[in-house]
Symmetry: C2
Subunit: 254 residues, 2 copies
DNA sequence: TAGTGTTTTCGCCTCTCCCGAATACCAGTT
DNA sequence: AACTGGTATTCGGGAGAGGCGAAAACACTA
């Protein structure tokens, strides 16, 4: 569930990456803090962080080190790397307008869901800051929509790698139950998330399939449970499925 | 001008970062290609790249390794880290609309200018993809606007570090000439770039000062030389200066 | 089946990274 | 000014990790 036992990973590289992660989480940190947190000698932390600084990946502001803007370029690169992502962005925005709910386009990577584009709902201050967020596939509408269209073997691999951790009381944490749900999703054409990730929040997700039949990603809309009910909800689902299909088409034609 | 001689940088970390850079430039690469390019053994390249993969920073697509979406999160983080950047984004868009030219908000880091926000001009397909781009300070309008409001000592440090490389025939590559120009820019209130970075392209840049008097960044508009002339141009400059001032105000009040 | 180019595994040697101790630095506090 | 607790930073030496090279696995073509 956690880590590599016998592998030949580079220890140095791994700690460097850990430091980068830490600098993001803490929004900057000093040498001592890093050392304490990662359980390494302060001098070691110092060498790492100064290496990152000399390579211009990190900036020093007073006594604390921060992630530098070099990551802006890298982030922007991966976002625009695939043409399809551009299309997805457009339709995410359309979805947000038509549904008046917050909308997300998610893809799978390393067994997790990653938010590639997000758009706020009508009342939405909620925004961009969640781009790049990693979520579980089994506890989200888009995640389940994606899993439903993967080979079962691959799904099993993912479960082995990341597990089925409970996020709320509703989270599916049983493999068989998950596979049943996935079958249902395939039939129905869309996936639901009934407070399985965050209590009080529901979502609907639709898969976006590539021309090869493989799954490219998923579109989803989310909102507070009381605004995701009844006939209003049925309309929402229709809008979602329509736009997902448009996106599929747009990808297939490009 | 180039590199560290005696320093204690971590060699392993440095090659890891080099590989990341390479994967961006080439948009993915195989083990052999990496090894050849960085002049290391293929087996070494392999260990690096698999380490990055196991840490989920890199994905393997067939035989080539690509940067993964983890960089999306990091990039998004540094973009939204400073509130002020949010304000700057808004005014960059406003500038683009009012000037009908492509507009950029730039900040300094490690002696280079980094595009933090960009907006296309009227005819603009040209867009986002340049976010995160690093440019020289001495050969760009925004860069010179920034330099003009830095302590002379700091400017000299930067020149020592990155030099004054010629990008076109017009590029200032003499220290004294640069300082003269910076003085002029301070008086005038804005900076010009007359085909000093790219031939055929001119730009105007205005500094954006923080409440402390230090320079926060610069706004600039750019376009083909023939559309950056005469009274049309004067109007452009006025618009630019007005918006830069609004941005300053907005920052000071927050 | 042989042949080219690749990726990947693995043992070994060396060089590099990590630690610890010493030093420098910085703000308060007395 | 001297003392104190907290930092960051420098530096030498030892252990262990990273890099190489050889060889094996693999993929495609002919």
């Amino acid at each position: 569930m956690t880590e590599n036992a016998n592998d030949r990973s580079l220890k140095t590289t791994v700690t460097t990456l850990r430091i980068i992660e830490l600098l993001r989480e803490r929004d900057g940190a000093g040498v001592t803090e890093i050392a304490r947190e990662l359980d390494i000698a302060p001098s070691t932390a110092h060498t790492h962080v100064t290496t990152l600084e000399s390579q211009e990946y990190v900036v020093k502001e007073g006594e604390t080190y921060h992630l530098g803007l070099r990551f802006l370029g890298l982030g922007n690169f991966v976002r625009t790397r695939k043409r399809k992502f551009g299309k997805a962005e457009h339709y995410t925005n359309v979805l947000s307008e038509e549904s008046e709910r917050r909308s997300i386009f998610t893809v799978e990577e390393h067994g997790r869901g990653v938010y590639v584009h997000t758009a706020p709902g009508k009342h939405g201050v909620w925004t961009q800051s969640t781009v790049g967020k990693r979520v579980y596939l089994h506890s989200t509408a888009s995640g389940k929509a994606i899993l439903a269209h993967m080979p079962a073997e691959r799904v099993r691999e993912i479960i082995d790698r990341v597990g089925l951790p409970k996020e709320t009381e509703q989270t599916i944490h049983d493999e068989e139950a998950l596979f049943d749900e996935l079958a249902e999703i395939r039939e129905r054409g869309y996936a639901l998330n009934v407070e399985e990730q965050i209590s009080g929040v529901r979502a609907v997700g639709a898969p976006v399939l590539g021309p090869d039949g493989g799954v490219f990603g998923a579109l989803s809309v989310a909102g507070p449970s009381n605004r995701m009910k009844g006939e209003q909800f049925d309309r929402l689902t229709e809008v979602l499925l329509g736009i997902a299909e448009e996106l599929e088409l747009s990808i297939a034609l490009s």
